[in-house]
Symmetry: C3
């Protein structure tokens, strides 16, 4: 079923080897342990009074592991809903992520500031690298089933770079806050991916239409992804906030936002079906929108009440998007968004950015006390008014949309070059193009054999 064009035997190894060897050389040249992972540096600190417990490892490593599960199992299995694309969903997710987290370490390290010409790394940089990787995997969701692994690795390299630039502009240049990444991760990843899939538009994709759907067990595998994303989202949003009340509050806000979102998702899924039956696509995706929408404001004094309203709205918007907007986007705008990332990451990300801007604009010292310096350091220092912090947040959303769309446009055209082994229209959503695929259940074949035998007997009788 593989022809020369999609044969990866040279393309994939060359891409992987070259990229990995470049990464190793660059790591050798510019990366070093930070003061908490370096034996000498840390022991100098403990001798000057720090306890081992002050090591950021103990503050952040449990959150990191949850984020790591979201990236590899959460995103990976969420995309296994397609009937014949499970190997690619999990497997390409795996290799893209393994590449992206290395490149992200370099790009983010370079832009977040060098130390004596070196990038210093530790658990916080590992979380940030995973976050950046998450953004790439969102874009992967938009083009799922229609790209070769080489295209995906190339996309990852470009997208990580642009992600780091956008993140730098938002957090460092503009002074915006976005701990859980409503803007930097979700909005960016979604609109970048949507633009890429727009450029890669396939007018004859309906030739693979029968494979662009789920089967019973593939939907159950996808629920593994959904649930891990849902359960660990509180860790995601709180992973790099300030220590103490900030991590604690962010986890709590996200927890209630997701709970409310789940109820509104079930309600809307049933309401929008003519026979009132729940749709797995909504449950798998829209129930997560509450985590996306709490990404910016989660660390702020959003209150549980505010968090629940945000989650409630996010679930409604997301189901409506899947039901009514996605078909329009595909038909009118030629955006073939396989996983519906616009509904899970795009619109809820924008909602989260707006909620963040409003919540920031309403911040006062009366509400935050001395905690203001953790959440809004510039406001606490008196450099800016809270209302201006809100404006910064809003500008950040606009910048993110701009860079994502423009970046996606350019990268889309690069990926369109006919050298990367993209699958033909007839073989989209099909593992067999790039994977050795075994047969199906032995049991069934036995049964089928039985059927055949019985028939033969009947026919011969």
């Amino acid at each position: 079923m593989t022809d020369a064009a999609t044969n990866m035997r040279l393309k994939l190894p060359i891409t992987c080897f070259i990229l990995q060897i470049i990464l190793i050389i660059l790591f050798g040249a510019v990366v070093k342990y930070d003061h908490e992972t370096d034996a000498k540096a840390w022991h100098n600190m403990t001798e000057s009074g720090h306890s081992n417990y002050d090591n950021d490892f103990y503050y952040r490593y449990p959150s990191f592991q949850d984020v790591h599960v979201m990236i590899f199992v959460g995103f990976g299995f969420l995309m296994t809903f397609l009937q014949r694309y499970g190997f690619s969903s999990v497997g390409f997710n795996f290799v893209i992520a393994a590449l992206a987290l290395q490149w992200a370490t370099l790009m983010q390290g370079f832009l977040h500031g060098l130390h004596g010409g070196k990038i210093e790394i530790g658990v916080e940089s590992m979380i940030n690298a995973d976050f950046c990787t998450g953004s790439v995997l969102i874009s992967f969701g938009a083009v799922l089933g229609k790209t070769s692994p080489v295209q995906l690795l190339i996309m990852a390299m470009f997208e990580v770079t642009l992600f780091a630039v956008n993140e730098f502009i938002l957090l460092s240049a503009l002074g915006a806050k976005d701990a859980g990444g409503s803007m930097t991760i979700h909005t960016f990843g979604a609109y970048f991916g949507l633009m890429v899939t727009r450029i890669l538009y396939r007018p004859n994709l309906d030739k693979s239409k029968h494979k662009n759907s789920s089967v019973y067990h593939s939907d159950l595998f996808a629920m593994i992804g959904t649930l891990y994303l849902w359960m660990f989202w509180p860790s995601f949003n709180s992973a790099i906030t300030a220590h103490g009340d900030d991590q604690h509050r962010t986890a709590l806000n996200t927890y209630y936002s997701l709970a409310a979102c789940t109820l509104s998702t079930y309600a809307m899924s049933s309401l929008t079906a003519h026979d009132g039956k729940l749709d797995m696509v909504h449950i798998q995706n829209a129930a997560l929108a509450g985590g996306v929408a709490a990404g910016t404001a989660g660390e702020m004094m959003l209150t549980p009440f505010g968090s629940m309203i945000v989650g409630f709205l996010a679930g409604i918007i997301s189901v409506l998007g899947f039901k009514y907007l996605s078909p329009i986007l595909e038909e009118k705008l030629k955006i073939q968004d396989t996983c519906g990332v616009h509904n899970l990451h795009g619109m809820p990300g924008v909602l989260g950015a707006i909620v963040g801007a409003v919540t920031a604009a309403l911040a006062t010292r009366d509400i935050y006390g001395d905690g203001l310096k953790d959440v809004f350091p510039d406001v606490a220092k008196g450099d800016v008014e809270a209302s201006f912090q809100g404006v910064r947040q809003a500008i950040s959303l606009a910048v993110t949309l701009g860079i994502a769309l423009l970046g996606g446009l350019i990268v889309g055209f690069i990926l369109k070059l006919p050298v990367f082994g993209a699958p033909p229209d007839t073989l989209c959503f099909e593992d067999d193009v790039y994977w050795e695929v075994p047969g199906d259940e032995a049991g069934h074949e036995d049964q089928l054999t039985t059927v055949r035998t019985e028939e033969s007997e009947k026919l011969n009788s």
Copy 2:
């Protein structure tokens, strides 16, 4: 396959929306951050000498995440063993839990004590809300396959309320200890659910009998649930015990109880089968009984030796229950207990309560040292004798059984009202009633098509 009675298009959205909007309003009115999630309050504490590490987040959040996984993946996938009920098992588990944890926050917060008329929340209340949710999911296991989502949401609201009342009586009024919830969670959830399923008795359930069993892959999905419950049970039992040795010891006791339980489960499963073959039902369920049975005494000085005896017995009792008691309960008492919660949560919960009472009665300052004030504060203060603490524990078991059975009776009758869209006897254990269900494996259909084609050719030849 859906008729008007089971059409959820109005019932489910209305139920979800009304309940969620009430919850949002109540959260707005009475819920606030506690002193560890509130920016101002926590920073007042750090300025008066507390370190960020004193924030309870760092003591409990890793345990919380494990508990969270047990609730959503553990319970959810454990129930996917049914061949055509995987969507409902995972999906209803999801929405019930998302509702229950919100309502539990309010009910438990109200009964555990208001602060200036407000409920204060943080990681400990989140764990408690998840615990209460666990109890509802146990009851869900008893009625699995025979109820509509609306019935389940209604049941959750009532059960959470009664759970909070029972928990208040046990822990606050009676002064019992039950950190891992042998009584409050497992015994309560099991007997409540058993009574509900008794009231909802379906004499003609055998019309759906062929669907009330597993298939090969559904049993593997269920093992995902089993293993996550098993692995994280040490976190469950230790999640809200006192800091330090208490959390540490509880996790250790539970670890060894579960290990011993697993061996006795395998032994009994093989021993009770005429051909010595292991039964997945036992492995999936009975191997967990050691965690249930260590729920009360786990935080006490039970010793590893004691923990292993408890686990060993729990496994034996549980397998015997599945093999010999469940059929009797169904035939004689008309209790149709789909998941056998009586064997996993009911009897082991009672065993755990008894072990807890005995262990408490044997407590001495010589054994516990100053740790006595963490585990048995009233005994440490000299308010009561250890033997009386044992009596308190025994009374607590009786109270729990009483409230669970009476509560289940009343709630069962409410759920019997013919307005909630329960499935007909012929369509129990069937996702298709409430879900859009896709076809099965594409590969197979292809093969079947092949079969059909071959046959046609043969027939036409």
Copy 3:
């Protein structure tokens, strides 16, 4: 399909009960809480100035839980790739591990030093017990599909004992370092298992050949195991290193080693296939070799650069092993290595040991500062030169290989005794020998029924 020889009705229960009762008695006789799990002892410490946070529980419990997931879900599901051996893979993994961790507690406790004639246990001993269990599960991978549960339990008892002896020689007698167990866990488990499977060689195993392969969904289940092993390997390698920079650095090194390994695995998998298609066997296994190979040097100042080179090489070696070496081992050396543990644990373990020896030999106080005493205490004290520490490491590898091969030889012959109910050659890789196995998908049977009906109609027309 079960005959008398493989009937487990007496053998399995007797084995489980006797072993478990012996374990309980021994635990009662010699095991007690350590000073951090004992109420009195810990409270004596807190009163003399320790904070609850100093309790090792908070330093290690999150790592322990990750390790626990690797043991039960990681190893268990990794082996579900076989089409009809999922119950046994997950289920035997479960019971072996539950036994092994108890026995390991005793063996390791006995050899690591008694306290007043007692073994003291806490979270660190739990991690060590899980580590030892991991080694047994690696050996299980070599004999997968060809052994009865009784054989496996017997093997576990012997292997745990030998593991503890080898570990004692390496860490205590020789003074080697091996925090993540490249030698003690991976090399030992692999070569022990390979020798056992050599002794149990089945010349007629090709009678079960058609079952010794995967089907579509079994490969997806296996990816659950792979990903949990991959994600949590940083926790595995860092779980028992010294607090502070050591845990932090080890996790970081492992993270980058695995990322680089994943890229080289994908490259090699595609490169070695004539049509360039990726092979799930490689992805599921070789991508993990980077974690194995970082097991010894991970805690050292390997640098991210060094870690990536190690991971990169490990992936290449592992894929080459699967592709070219395993067939030779099977044909020439009669080693039937079901899971290819030689490629995932054997060769990468040896690589890791060598990397550890070299890195140790290069250690200087200039690089490690005062951290030298954590990683190489004997070097820091001036008892030995760094170069001699390297020699110690190399000797440790040789000792490990010797004990593993000799131990596997002896245990292999014990397991060959024809009393343990091993499956016949025709029924290897088949759950049905030891498990009640349900049918396959209901949906399919319905469809098949339809086919049959249609045919009957056609035939009758």
